[in-house]
Symmetry: C2
Subunit: 141 residues, 2 copies
Amino acid sequence: MISEQTTVPPSEARILPSTQACTPILPGFTCGLDVSLRVIAGKWKPLILYFIAQGGPIRYGALRRAVQGVSDKMLIQQLKELEVDGLVKRTDYKEIPPRVDYGLTALGRSLAEALVPLCSWGTQNMEEVARVFAERDLSGQ
Amino acid sequence: MISEQTTVPPSEARILPSTQACTPILPGFTCGLDVSLRVIAGKWKPLILYFIAQGGPIRYGALRRAVQGVSDKMLIQQLKELEVDGLVKRTDYKEIPPRVDYGLTALGRSLAEALVPLCSWGTQNMEEVARVFAERDLSGQ
DNA sequence: ACAAGTATGCACCTTTTGGTAAGTACCCTA
DNA sequence: TAGGGTACTTACCAAAAGGTGCATACTTGT
């Protein structure tokens, strides 16, 4: 039986220095990345989080316009989930017409900060990604 | 007409220092974060990327065992997409029985690095997230 | 008076995603 | 000779995700 451990000699530095062990501490989560993904899973959550982080407490309508392409249903739904997950704080001013805004909790703020490198990566590699996507769409479907 | 711009005075530092502008450079993408999300969207891609980053070029079977809970269908599918998107490099040794391994391209490696903070966040806040999830599951389903 | 904006809720439907289970062709080990 | 490992592929199906459109109740602008 061939062990995968021994196929990669320890002398070779194939492992990224900063990409360290995914420690499976708690049951139900395979690693830290898994935890984060459960919280921000969904088409819109990371963007919502990020826009709130940028705009400070932001009104519903403004957020709606910022996150291009979301429907009301989705925005509300995701905001609710982010709220019960303790990342977003909803403030209802009980006015008429309605006024509500959304800000981040300390937990939400720290998650938003963790998204910064991902945002930078996208900005830096936007052209390359756009090119690949264009090819993919032209050829096979 | 009330402008949202003016409701937040510039004197207040509500905007996170490191969470800077989502610059909409190319059409089709709203911002850098949007670009990244398009590439790693899917239940397994970030984990796959991360495990490959850790294990150097890793064989299919080993990856399969590392990413707990994936089916063959999903793993293969996501690996293919990651390959055409230029993040993963597949090496087929043309042996019998089959031997194939998966490594990262330069682009993939940089993306994996951008995932590091997200992984750390999850590790640090694992307990809090687990608590919130438990409450949520107990009460309103 | 009428249209538009405010922040949602709800019903209905389609699309996407993902899981299960089977099969392939070949090898090695017990 | 039977069983397990290798890296996939395919067909079928269930569940989740997400979109559309309508409704609310009140205000402001034209």
